[in-house]
């Protein structure tokens, strides 16, 4: 995980569990380079960072262009620790005055960002303090990312199941591998309600009818279909995806931050109220306490869910097969 041995020399700073890497030759922004005020919460996350490996890497390609790479092999599930690290990431983005573009991608083959970690204790997630918006940490992160005064881009290769779809919807833009991206809001298929706001976001993006097809159908949506529905901005040939996103991010990173921030601020008047993401989170937690979801997840586990293999690769199919 430590990248200081790579040919490009970079400085690395731990913020919570996330490693902030400054590429040599660029000054490190104050928010990342200087220690954060030693509040109780920061101290706590720093302690955790020592004990737990980073599941997210924040690399500054330049002061204006950051890359956030999700890296929790083998299947990029999101547990409480990753949620905590996303909190650190968004705090760093908000505090920095030079960052203009943030690209989210994955270091794990076949997974952009996957469903939640069902082997973690639910209390470790529900016991985390609310974020600055007053929402629990995951919807808090998503809302803050949507409102951050920078351009955010999801580069989607592999599965974007549940949380991965939700971070895509929170980003300003998304570009997906035509061959390798799979979007999925699979929750209803296992007896759950999605926790990160797709009920609020998808209808505005792709229309109520296609939003309900995605949400109630709970099936896998390949790159082409996601593009046709407007679920992602564009699906590109896998071989061209990285170069396209790098060029697009580099382009925007040269534009004026004030103009980016104020344009985005005015676009954001069309957002659903943040409270809708809170309502979705509450419904998600409530669904997890019901036998339907418990039985559904258990049945999936019995078929190989939650580890590399067919049940993860073809989750949409398996959701239609589990006995009820």
């Amino acid at each position: 995980m430590n990248k200081s041995m790579t040919p490009i020399s970079r400085r690395e700073i731990l913020i919570g569990g996330a490693i902030v890497v400054a590429v040599a030759g660029f000054p490190l922004p104050a928010a990342a380079g200087q220690p954060k005020p030693a509040t109780k919460e920061n101290a706590m996350t720093t302690t955790i960072a020592v004990a737990k490996p980073a599941q997210i890497r924040l690399v500054q390609r330049s002061p204006a262009y950051w890359r956030v790479t999700i890296d929790n092999p083998p299947i990029n599930v999101m547990g409480p620790e990753m949620v905590r690290q996303f909190q650190d990431v968004i705090a760093a983005i908000e505090a920095d005055e030079q960052v203009r573009v943030v690209v989210f991608d994955s270091a794990v083959d076949d997974y952009f960002l996957n469903h939640s970690d069902f082997t973690a204790k639910l209390e470790d997630l529900t016991g985390m303090p609310d974020g600055p918006t007053g929402l629990p940490p995951w919807p808090d992160f998503l809302v803050r990312l949507t409102r951050a005064p920078v351009a955010s881009i999801a580069l989607i290769r592999g599965r974007a199941t549940g949380n991965g779809s939700e971070i895509t919807l929170a980003c300003d833009m998304s570009f997906a591998s035509r061959e390798k991206a799979i979007m999925s809001q699979w929750e209803v298929g296992v007896g759950m309600v999605a926790g990160g706001g797709p009920m609020a976001r998808l209808p505005q993006l792709i229309g109520r009818n296609r939003a309900l097809e995605v949400l109630l159908g709970s099936d896998d949506i390949r790159g082409d279909q996601a593009e046709a529905y407007g679920y992602v901005n564009r699906a590109l040939p896998d071989a061209e995806l990285d170069a396209f996103v790098v060029a697009f991010a580099a382009r925007i990173s040269k534009f004026d931050k004030w103009a980016i921030a104020h344009t985005k601020r005015l676009v954001n008047t069309s957002l659903p109220p943040d409270v809708e993401l809170g309502a979705g989170w509450d419904a998600c937690i409530a669904s997890l306490g019901r036998p339907a979801a418990q039985d559904g997840i258990k049945a999936l586990m019995n078929r190989g869910f939650h580890k590399p293999g067919d049940a993860e690769n073809r989750l949409g199919y398996y959701l239609g097969q589990i006995p009820r």
Copy 2:
């Protein structure tokens, strides 16, 4: 109309003019199987049901998966009696605790659901009592269908003109025959305003510019175009449409009703206020009292409108031809 002689044995119950059919082997839900409380209104609709044939059939493929089939040959127009039967259908859907998916289709070749019956007395429609939402019966039905805690699917083969388009927009999802589906909001072309809410629903679904093209152009929209605009979820080859919808409905019918209902409830926060459908209805009724609409409908009638033939088949074309 009576299906008890078909190979599959089914129980049939009259609710208003609608026949509720229970496939043998599945218990009949309480709401359908038991007599409704003998209120004055129910008694009235039951009486009417004896005198008038069912124009809608409600078949329970399973307790969780219902099919509502529109069957008013030869051209599937909607008069006051059909509106009354739609009221019974939605009451049955709302009252049942097991239904999770309802598919709307047609038994009449070339017509999914057509325009209103202009040979009926307008008073028979406007004299009906408001529904539980406080709206007149047709917009009341549409609003309640949109808010019902089940997944609703329009299977569109043939013309969905006016009312047929409006029920499509009220359903959660829609799948159309690529060769045989024709969407149409034809009202402006004949001097009317649409009565079932497309002004409220279409802009959110397909964008204001395409909504106004559909509404002000009043032309026929074929399956491919409807899919490209997002007017329907997908257009499929006619030979594949039924199997696709059956598989999709069967899939959802196995998912947890609580998860379906709460996911849909949260999606529905993006709906326009119900009152907008009331305003549309009022404008529709007002338009019918004006000479422009009276003359337009009369001119169409003179060209063969309202019976099988070219004026119905190519309504969009004929709307451009009637003298003004």
Copy 3:
């Protein structure tokens, strides 16, 4: 500019700087044919009209079907005088009782309507009195066009950069040349915020993610892409575009004005509040006072911007090249 020598005999009336032309054989509507009340403002614009050539022509193809042609060669930029003429155009549309369809097009090769005239004094624009909506004249025009009780259509051939995109978004419908249309909200790329409301309009039309791609990417969007995103209704082969729009406009021009107006009124409930266009305008004016925009425009000018040539033709590319 005077068209009275063309084979078709037409009457021409000056309204402000705009020439209103009545095709012979059709009565000229009162609002256009009679002098407007001699308020101070009208008198002023009439005086200006004598001194300055018309940059917009309003031709009445019939009492119900008007054509507004933008004609400010060589590159169809919009300065204060054109804004004043758009005010006259919308006043004529609002005052007339027979017009049902207005088509906006261009008489200048390669440009539908371009960015603002940066050689004009900003004070000439900001010093103009607010329009009837209480908004400054350009957003006032756009809001009134959107709410006018007629069908408005943008026929887009050539560049629709900034103002051209904004008038497209204010029209009810838009049809673009597949080969020759270029949509562009280029403002962020030069350090500005757009002034005519795309932040309010684009997210509803094409989804937040693609709206932000257009706005923050500031790149040229060709006809095909604009159609795929729903930015325009349709992109048509250039050779077919005019005939398509003429036929479509002629079709609607025969429909009942009351039905058009009330249908559009109900569609307009989905519009963002007008105040959002005011907020966008304020941000635009603020951006023009900042060094980033001043430097950006100057750098573009040094590369040939604001006159016919490569910097205008490939503005998206040049925005990525100017030094920062």
